[in-house]
């Protein structure tokens, strides 16, 4: 291959210009015109004359470059030493204030800066070395078409055909089809094992629809007790009289205390509790439903967004809008939390509430619809 790699030079002079038609032309290299005056296209003038660098011509410049490279490697070594010393010397709780960055951890800064300088020094030195002292004479390498030669192709085809014939593929179709069948099927057990054992999907439809607000009958057949609303995360019951107009509470059901799967249950049971003045609700049927499912203007809604399930954590007290911080779906509490803006489609699910004998807020029944993001079977 060495004859293909030659050092370049300025090889066609301007005197070569315009002699198209006398050259040997490659037919796969675009169109060429015949002789007769000017060529149809310009001719490649070849590589421009090489300009030597200062370090090529001047030994002083070359040794200066050498010193520069060595200095960069030296700085790298120093920085490595700094890293090692700092690793042992600096207390990792010590803070430091850096103008423009703020207060930060001193050990992290010193370790990172020294490691950075140590690495960058090697890199900068090597690149400077390459750019000043290593040859900058461009070298030309010939390309060859990717396509194999016809002989090589014919040989490959022959080998495959001959191999197929030796294996008697053509003569014994039963072998061909049975092998195909076996190879086509062998991966199924692996797919089945993984897909079948990742999780039990048959519980999905029921699971997604349940929350721990659901009230189950007691073992003796009597209906279950209503569930008290508890503050989240303090887990204390909420008196209706504590909920002043304009306030908002993060709520979990009392049943969370006995939960075996706290995070999973929380992820569906989270509720927001707000109190509005009764006059603030919409006068239409939606507003009336909202009020009738609440208690003296106190209403409870699922906090899980119906878009993709983020907690709808922002309550705008003045407008009575709930805003999801993830994708900005906006729900109007005065109108049964219907979507007034954003990518969600469905209203948040309302939790029916009332008060028990002791004046605490309770939910006498669970949600009437699945909470959270939509799914196929809901």
């Amino acid at each position: 291959m060495s004859n293909h790699s030659t050092t370049s030079g300025h090889e066609s002079t301007s005197a070569d210009q315009g002699r198209a038609g006398t050259d040997v032309v490659r037919l796969d290299d675009g169109h060429h015109v015949g002789a007769g005056g000017l060529p149809e296209r310009f001719e490649d003038p070849g590589l421009p004359p090489h300009v030597h660098r200062l370090a090529d011509r001047d030994p002083v410049a070359a040794s200066r470059a050498e010193r520069q490279v060595a200095t960069m490697f030296g700085v790298s070594m120093l920085a490595t030493l700094v890293f090692i010393v700092a690793y042992f010397a600096i207390d990792y709780t010590q803070g430091v204030f850096i103008p423009g960055i703020g207060s930060t951890n001193l050990l992290n800064v010193v370790l990172g800066v020294s490691m950075g300088v140590s690495l960058f020094g090697i890199g900068a030195g090597a690149v400077h070395w390459a750019k000043t002292l290593m040859s900058d004479e461009e070298v030309v390498e010939e390309r060859h078409p990717m396509r194999s030669s016809d002989e090589a192709r014919a040989k490959a085809v022959h080998l495959i055909q001959a191999g197929g014939e030796q294996a008697q593929f053509g003569r014994r179709p039963v072998l061909k089809y049975s092998l195909g069948g076996a190879l086509g099927l062998f991966a199924l057990p692996f797919v089945l094992q993984v897909a079948g054992s990742l999780g039990n999907p048959t519980k999905a439809t029921a699971g997604l629809a349940q929350t721990i607000w659901d009230i189950h009958p007691l073992p003796d057949g009597t209906p279950g007790h209503p569930i008290r609303l508890f503050r989240d995360p303090e887990m204390t019951p909420i008196k209706a009289s504590d909920v002043t107009i304009g306030s908002v509470f993060h709520v979990m059901p009392e049943t969370l205390k006995d939960s075996q799967h706290v995070l999973e249950d929380k992820a569906k049971a989270a509720v927001l509790l707000m109190r509005l003045h009764p006059s603030q609700f919409d006068s239409g049927p939606r507003g009336q439903k909202t009020q009738s499912w609440g208690h003296e203007g106190i209403v409870a809604y699922s906090k899980i967004c119906t878009h993709v399930g983020c907690p709808v954590g922002l309550y705008e007290q003045q407008t009575h809008h709930l805003l999801c911080p993830c994708h900005q779906s906006t729900f109007d509490v005065t109108k049964d939390c219907e979507v007034i803006f954003g990518p969600a489609k469905r209203s948040l699910a309302q939790l029916k509430i009332t008060v028990d004998d002791a004046g605490y807020l309770v939910a006498p029944e669970g949600f009437h619809e699945p909470v959270g993001p939509s799914y196929w079977e809901r």
């Binding site: 310009f42 370790l111 900058d136 999780g199 989240d232 995360p233 706290v262």
Partner: protein, 593 residues
């Protein structure tokens, strides 16, 4: 044409350098002995000889892929370190570490171990931050590298396979990033997983099953963290490294593309050998990338998970956003209107989520992966291309690329609509509506503007070849006329401006076969002709020698060379006028000749 038959050898070019003919040193002999031992057992010598004299062309944009490669290596190195301390478990424990604000808080072991890496492992925070910064840099570099390849047409034959490998790599990089981002199980990444569970549910028919399988039951469960861990540290890295290896092997097989220029043809590659120049440059560049990543990680805090707190499904922070590379998908979710969800056949179709969260990424990457094949079909070009296109010389391709970038940016900006609304005191509703409209209006506009700019730049190139470079020197003639002296550009600079070929649109066939019957093949041919028309109807041909001679003949040459004493016909030049229009306004000087 033939740049490889240069009679001068390398030595003659370096005649002022002393020859190195000294006897090998003792150290070199020892190395030689070892090399001999290895070669006698592996035959590695010939492969080595082949690799070390490989030629790579020089251009700054060729470093973008290198940055991606090095960032990936940095991630592999630091990631391996992190696994020594990270505990991939969602099991709940009570924190009792050295970070006081979290004392007594219930959290997962994954979160606790990540906090421990940040506070109790010396230098652990640095490694964690390098890992995160390098991951972000990896995806930036992959994306920009991909744009470079696209805009220069480096995806053309024979590199289509490598383009497809590259698109798969860049898509997997997004998934790999998201998986890693979710592992610490902090409040922010947990909210991301919460959304991801919502995404899965939106899949028609199987959505709820997929969700229950991925999370092994109801969200969040304890399965997802260890499963994502395996995906993040084993499955995807193995695929990424495998595909990357194929990617780089193909670069060696194809030999690197080069920008057009004097002496550079479709049949050669002009540059510097791997040994020693590129070993030093590329090896050095690895250290530079690593060094810069370490510096950033030392000085700029990223993902302070201890400030977010452990994941809990109930609280949330305002301004919740994913890492930047998922921004466009998040933006799409913010823009897709709610009415795309509907109930039909007693089933819920959540297209408001499904399109943005599940379909968007595969569709984008499929379109990207298919592009070389579409363009090849339109041009009907079956030749190999090793010379890159200057983006201006492919106006429609460049326009389409800019159009894609602008769509991406609108989605990306939309994912920050809440922060923009707060910082700029704008209504979030207005912003969202503007982005929704902008997504359909801006990209076609960007396409049109880009295409016009490309065509103008091509005309400017013509202008420069035909009438020279504006020198800034104003000359006054004896009659008191003024003109700017134009310097003719030399043949090397000229070659870069005239070497490309302009495609012509293919003609539409009759659409019927010999018997006058409409044929199905003709329909595809008509579509192809229409696309070809779309691509190439507006084109600017490169200057031909005849045109240059004519320009000179028309008196331009005299004007260029003119000195005040000898100047005959002179005029004030308007360099902004297109080359093709030039002929008409040059008539006057011609008559004076």
């Amino acid at each position: 044409m033939s740049t490889t038959t240069d009679p001068r050898s390398a030595a003659s070019l370096r005649e002022n350098d002393p020859a190195t003919t000294s006897a090998p040193s003792a150290g070199a002999k020892r190395v030689g002995g070892l090399a001999n031992w290895v070669d006698e057992r592996t035959g590695a010598g010939s492969g080595m000889a082949f690799l070390l004299k490989k030629i790579f062309p020089d251009h700054w944009s060729f470093m973008l892929g290198e940055i991606a490669m090095y960032s990936m290596i940095i991630c592999l190195l630091t990631g391996a370190f992190l696994t020594f301390w990270f505990v991939p478990s969602a099991g709940q424990i009570v924190y009792d570490g050295s970070y006081l604000p979290l004392k007594g808080v219930t959290m997962s072991e994954a979160y606790r171990s990540t906090v421990a890496i940040s506070f109790d492992v010396r230098g652990g925070l640095l490694i964690r931050q390098i890992h995160h910064w390098a991951a972000l840099m990896f995806i930036v570099a992959v994306t920009v590298h991909m744009l470079r390849v696209y805009f220069t047409g480096a995806f053309r034959k024979p590199r289509e396979i490598n383009w497809v490998i590259g698109t798969i790599l860049s898509m997997l990089a997004l998934v790999e990033g998201f998986a890693g981002y979710s592992l610490p199980d902090d409040l922010l990444s947990g909210t991301g997983l919460r959304a991801a569970e919502g995404f899965m549910r939106s899949i028609p028919i199987v959505g709820s099953y997929v969700s229950y399988m991925m999370f092994d039951g109801p969200f969040p469960g304890e399965a997802i963290i260890p499963r994502l861990f395996t995906v993040h540290v084993l499955l995807l890295p193995a695929i990424l490294v495998g595909l990357f290896t194929a990617h780089i092997v193909l670069v060696f097989v194809h030999k690197h593309t080069q920008f057009p220029g004097p002496g550079r043809t479709e049949h050669n590659v002009v540059g510097f050998p791997l040994m020693p120049v590129y070993t030093a440059k590329a090896g050095g560049f690895f250290f530079m990338v690593f060094g810069v990543t370490a510096l950033i990680s030392a000085l700029v805090m990223i993902n302070p998970i201890w400030a977010y707190g452990p994941y809990d499904p109930s609280p949330v922070t305002a301004g919740s956003q994913p890492d930047w590379y998922m921004g466009f998908a998040d933006g799409a979710l913010r823009l897709l209107p709610g009415f795309l969800e509907f109930v039909a056949f007693d089933r819920t179709w959540s297209f408001n989520v499904f399109i943005g969260a599940i379909l968007l990424i595969p569709v984008i990457f499929t379109i990207a992966g298919a592009y070389p094949f579409l363009e090849r079909w339109v041009t009907g070009d079956t030749r190999e291309h090793h010379l890159l296109d200057r983006p201006r010389n492919a106006p429609v391709r460049t326009g389409l690329g800019m159009m894609a970038i602008s769509s991406y940016f609108i989605l990306f900006l939309a994912s920050g609509n809440d922060l923009m609304a707060i910082k700029l005191h704008l209504s979030i509703n207005d912003l969202t509506r503007s982005f929704q409209v902008g997504f359909f209006v801006v990209p076609p506009l960007v396409f049109w503007v880009t295409k016009r700019i490309c065509l103008s730049l091509q005309r400017h190139d013509r202008e420069k070849v035909l009438h020279g470079r504006e020198s800034g020197t104003i000359i006054r003639t004896a009659e008191g006329k003024f003109f700017e002296k134009h310097d003719e550009i030399d043949e090397f600079a000229r070659w870069s401006l005239v070497q490309h070929e302009a495609h012509e649109p293919i003609a539409v066939g009759s659409g019927t076969d010999a018997n006058g019957v409409a044929s199905p093949a003709a329909r595809s041919e008509r579509a192809r002709a229409r696309l070809s028309h779309f691509y190439f109807k507006d084109r600017v041909d490169p200057v031909t020698p005849a045109e240059l001679a004519a320009a000179h003949h028309h008196g331009e040459h005299e004007a260029i060379e003119a000195t005040p004493e000898t100047a005959g016909p002179v005029e004030i030049m308007d360099s902004r006028r297109g080359g093709a229009d030039r002929e008409s306004i040059r008539r006057a000087p011609e008559s004076e000749l």
